[in-house]
């Protein structure tokens, strides 16, 4: 059974949601063994309140954690035994095979960078996020496509973009059970020569990659349509796109609430649509998906949303366990090896610090 180290102190609702999520997983026959990392007294007190299987939960005590608003580097320098760092260490030591955290994104990435090795051919890790789309994909009719990078680093070279494509494709194939995910570069036009220099170069390499289903460039309008299953971009653009999509979603909901309040006829209309809206909300519920993978290291890390509750934490842990069971890291290594055959990447300086500290 896969062992997942779960940062019990990271997240807006820690440790309550984290402990409840781990408890849920411990009762799942196909679940995972969970190591809850954090303040033992607080974790133990929460455990007594929830149904769980104590045989499948271990507590690794550490009194420290990185606050959500802290500077990742300063916090981890000051408390190298912070819960998120201990999670990464447990994976490094082989006591766990994956980690999950809903804590400070920058600290999660930095903890991985400090304890794990980057995979050969990966200069920068990538944070991937799922976005709801019109089109479904894979065996499970997954309504999400994967976008990366959404904030681990600011810019990306052609080699980085190719590595992101390989990692995103492997993730979609393993986790969404989509055997040939359609991979695309985000640009300002679908033509191969459109976009910045690094996008044009990456396009040339990606189209000859033997194991990628590269469909070319996509534009912003293609994201919600689901034209691609994996959208590759740099962290700066990806983060802006992600936040914009979240903002649109919130605005649409707010408009709905406004319409409901304003006119009786609109309210009646909304009520008639309510079951459809509910279904749509369930379908695109990020808590169901669990979390975003941090890709590029020799370990599995799922970054759950800072606001995650029990269900999201449990699902993030399930995704982490699945990534281990399906050998996600092995698949990425294989894809990267093929990418190296296409083009020997230019040697750029290694970047390990996360560029964006926000909760992606």
């Amino acid at each position: 059974m896969v062992t997942v180290a779960l940062d019990a102190m990271g997240g807006d609702k820690a440790p309550v949601a984290q402990v409840a999520g781990a408890a849920q997983i411990s009762l799942d026959p196909q679940g995972a063994h969970v190591i809850l990392v954090g303040d033992e007294r607080r974790i133990a007190a929460e455990l007594t309140k929830v149904r769980h299987d104590a045989e499948r939960i271990t507590i690794e005590h550490t009194p420290n954690f990185v606050p959500m608003d802290a500077s990742p580097r300063h916090a981890l320098d000051a408390t190298p035994d912070a819960s998120v760092a201990v999670c990464a260490r447990l994976v490094h030591e082989g006591r766990a095979q994956a980690m999950v955290s809903a804590g400070n994104t920058g600290a999660v990435i930095l903890a991985c960078a400090r304890h794990w090795e980057r995979l050969e051919g990966v200069r920068r890790c990538a944070l991937a996020a799922v976005i709801p789309t019109e089109r479904r994909r894979g065996e499970r009719q997954d309504p999400f496509s994967l976008m990366l990078d959404v904030g681990a680093t600011l810019d990306a070279s052609p080699e980085d973009l190719m590595a992101f494509a390989v990692m995103g494709s492997a993730y979609a194939a393993r986790i969404s059970r989509n055997p040939a995910p359609r991979v695309a570069l985000l640009s300002n036009g679908t033509e191969a020569n459109k976009g910045r220099e690094e996008i044009v170069q990456a396009h040339q390499w990606l189209k000859v990659h033997p194991s990628l289903n590269f469909i070319g460039n996509v534009e912003g309008v293609d994201l919600p349509r689901g034209t691609a299953d994996v959208i590759v971009t740099d962290g700066f653009t990806g983060n802006i796109v992600l936040k914009m999509l979240e903002g649109i979603s919130e605005t649409v909901l707010e408009l709905g609430r406004y319409a409901y309040r304003q006119k009786f006829a609109w309210r009646a209309g909304m009520m008639l649509l309510s079951s459809g809206i509910k279904q749509l909300r369930e379908l695109t519920d990020w808590q169901e998906y669990g979390g975003a993978p941090i890709l590029g290291f020799d370990g599995v890390c799922i970054k759950a949303h800072g606001r995650s509750e029990e269900r999201a934490m449990a699902n993030a842990t399930r995704v982490a366990a699945k990534a281990v069971r399906t050998n996600l890291v092995g698949a990425i290594k294989e894809g990267l090896a093929r990418a190296r055959e296409i083009k020997q990447p230019v040697q750029h300086p290694v970047v390990v610090e996360p560029a964006l500290g926000g909760d992606a």
């Binding site: 033992e40 455990l47 309140k49 769980h52 299987d53 045989e55």
Partner: protein, 339 residues
């Protein structure tokens, strides 16, 4: 020295306590009813634990009181015999009789069936015997065993007892039977020393806080064996035998056992002093077990890492406030999503 200590009596429930029984769905109920003795599965470690308890020189009785119908007596007795379990008393529920007499409420009633059955069984036990009771979280076992202890300790008038049982949903026949037995077994002390609740439904352990420290919710019988070692009933070799049964017959890993050990430490059911004693004694008991040093190293690590605070001695407990317990919600634990 042993002779001066009081004799010991063990009270066991059967379904979900000793036997792995599924009867949450009608299909499971039918399957359970037609299972042969050799097809019935005991809960991991339960057989090894009961064998050790049955063989203990201080053991006066091992009684089973089960809600299973009388018609299953033959197959259940056969199962216990196959497992090498000592049986001094075996009470089953007269469900057919209840059905024929139209006592439908009595078929589902736990408190009104088990409490008088325990009091009747007490009549066969030595007057000074101490009792260890085993039940599960699917029914109201913690409530019944605690109530039983208080009844034997003479803490209720007939009216008080009637009121509590009525509020707990007991059938009137059961209430009258209990009240009749009230004077026959009453002593000046509560004979129940420990109540183990097997967490078959994994209900939250805080649910049992109101019952006091002598009620120990357990995830498995390795945990019960450790507490009984702490109580001076079992020796380390017995505990190791329980663990080995769980490893060999039920695929338990050392990590699951170590987690169970650590969970007891965290909940204060055992103390770090006991853990050290167990480790010292287990080394000898485990010398022929392959990989035993690795196992003990893991246990040692857990003892060091667990933040423990032992619960107060159970003998200092006050009588329970049954009214508050009954006010706090249903006695039976319902799984989420069930009615």
């Amino acid at each position: 020295m042993t002779l001066s200590l009081p004799p010991l009596v063990y009270r066991w429930d059967l379904d979900k306590t000793y036997l792995r029984t599924e009867f949450d769905r009608a299909r499971d109920l039918v399957r359970t009813a037609f299972q042969k003795a050799h097809e019935k599965q005991s809960v991991p470690g339960a057989a090894a634990l009961l064998q050790a308890l049955g063989a203990h020189p201080r053991t006066a009785r091992v009684d089973f009181i089960s809600g299973s119908p009388e018609q299953l007596r033959k197959v259940l007795s056969e199962k216990l015999h196959l497992d090498g379990i000592r049986v001094d008393g075996f009470t089953l529920k007269p469900n057919l009789q209840n059905l024929l007499k139209g006592r439908f409420g009595a078929i589902r009633d736990q408190v009104g069936y088990k409490l008088p059955a325990l009091l009747e069984a007490r009549q066969s036990a030595p007057a000074d015997a101490e009792e260890f009771c085993f039940g599960d979280d699917a029914e109201a076992d913690a409530f019944i065993y605690r109530l039983y202890g208080d009844v034997v300790a003479g803490r209720f008038t007939p009216d008080q007892l009637r009121d509590i049982m009525l509020r707990a949903g007991a059938h009137k026949k059961g209430i009258e039977r209990t009240v009749m037995l009230l004077g026959t077994v009453t002593t000046d002390r509560d004979p129940v020393r420990r109540i183990f609740i097997h967490l078959d439904r994994h209900s939250p352990t805080s649910r049992f806080d109101a019952y006091g420290a002598r009620v120990v919710p357990i995830y498995n019988y390795f945990q019960a064996a450790l507490v009984l070692f702490d109580d001076g009933i079992l020796d380390a070799a017995d505990v190791v035998r329980v663990a080995l049964e769980m490893v060999r017959s039920n695929g338990y890993s050392i990590r699951r056992l170590a987690n169970s050990f650590e969970d007891l430490l965290r909940r204060g059911c055992i103390g770090a002093d006991m853990a050290a004693r167990f480790e010292a004694n287990a080394s000898e008991a485990m010398k022929d077990v392959p990989g035993s040093e690795g196992i003990l190293t893991e246990f040692r690590r857990r003892v060091r890492s667990a933040v423990t605070q032992r619960q107060p001695d159970s003998s200092t407990e006050e009588p329970l406030n049954y009214g508050a317990i009954l006010d706090s919600g249903p006695l039976k634990f319902r799984l989420p999503g069930t009615h």
